[in-house]
């Protein structure tokens, strides 16, 4: 700062670091869903979908067509509400 003028700025992050990775290490997979809900609180279903797809890939689960359609509908609805 030079008077009212900002001469240089340095970005700092980590002010809401909640140790999500460490939590995910310790909890069973179905207990992660509420945590991914609260990662981005404006579009939580989309974060959930990312987590669910990861679990499905790891466990080699095939998702039925009907569930996939429902997911797309839910994610589109979330997209509307997200700013």
């Amino acid at each position: 700062m030079n008077g009212e003028k900002i001469v240089s700025a340095e970005p700092t992050i980590g002010y809401i670091h909640r140790a999500f990775e460490k939590l995910a290490e310790h909890r069973p997979y179905n207990q992660i869903t509420p945590i991914t809900d609260r990662l981005n609180y404006c579009s939580s279903p989309i974060n959930n979908m990312g987590w669910h797809m990861t679990v499905e890939k790891l466990a080699k689960i095939e998702v039925p067509k009907r569930a996939q359609y429902m997911r797309v509908i839910i994610m589109e609805l979330a997209l509307w509400t997200a700013p």
Binding site: G14, Y15, I16, H17, R18, A19, K22, L23, R38
Partner: protein
């Protein structure tokens, strides 16, 4: 029919009404609280809904949100406070002028909530004194309004001398706030 606020205890007569100064000031303060929103996560979104037209926090005399701690009476902490954020929160609290109140909205601010981890402060009452806790993860706007009304009740009934009392000084010393 217009509803008029209830009168406090006092003497009424021909053309005059006498009550204690403490009560009059309490009513004035309670209906013109300026909140400082300290929103860090999901509860902040619920607070935005509370401020919106549906729930309309303005009818409690909170028309103006103050984003400067020096001009606000009520610190609303909404969301997870990480340990890195704790000194910032404490600084904001110390910058506020007396009298000041604090409301912790949501499970994270009240107790750490589901984030029982090394990096999250387990409740903001570890660093600053809190008047009202609102549970919920996140709480509904009705719950936040309920918390606000509890704060109004506290403000209305607070004696004028409370902030100068040794108990209050002791409370501040406990949190190492001068």
């Amino acid at each position: 029919m217009t509803k008029i606020a209830e009168m406090p205890e006092g003497f009424a007569g021909e053309g005059f009404f006498a009550t204690s100064l403490s009560k009059a000031v309490g009513i004035a303060r309670a209906n013109s609280i300026w909140p400082l929103p300290f929103a860090t996560s999901c509860c902040g979104i619920e607070f935005m809904a509370t401020m919106g037209t549906d729930y309309d926090l303005s009818r409690f005399g909170m028309e103006r949100l103050s984003f400067s701690p020096r001009q606000s009476d009520l610190l609303m902490v909404m969301g997870t406070i990480a340990k890195k954020m704790a000194p910032v929160l404490k600084q904001v609290y110390t910058q506020m002028a007396e009298p000041k109140w604090v409301i912790a909205v949501g499970a994270c601010a009240s107790s750490g909530g589901i984030f029982d981890t090394y990096s999250v402060l387990q409740g903001i009452d570890k660093v600053i004194p809190v008047d009202v806790y609102v549970p919920g993860c996140p709480p509904r706007p009705e719950q936040i309004i309920d918390g606000i009304m509890k704060i109004q009740e506290l403000v209305k009934n607070e004696p004028l001398r409370r902030r100068f009392s040794p108990e209050y000084q002791h409370l501040l010393e406990k949190y190492q706030i001068a």
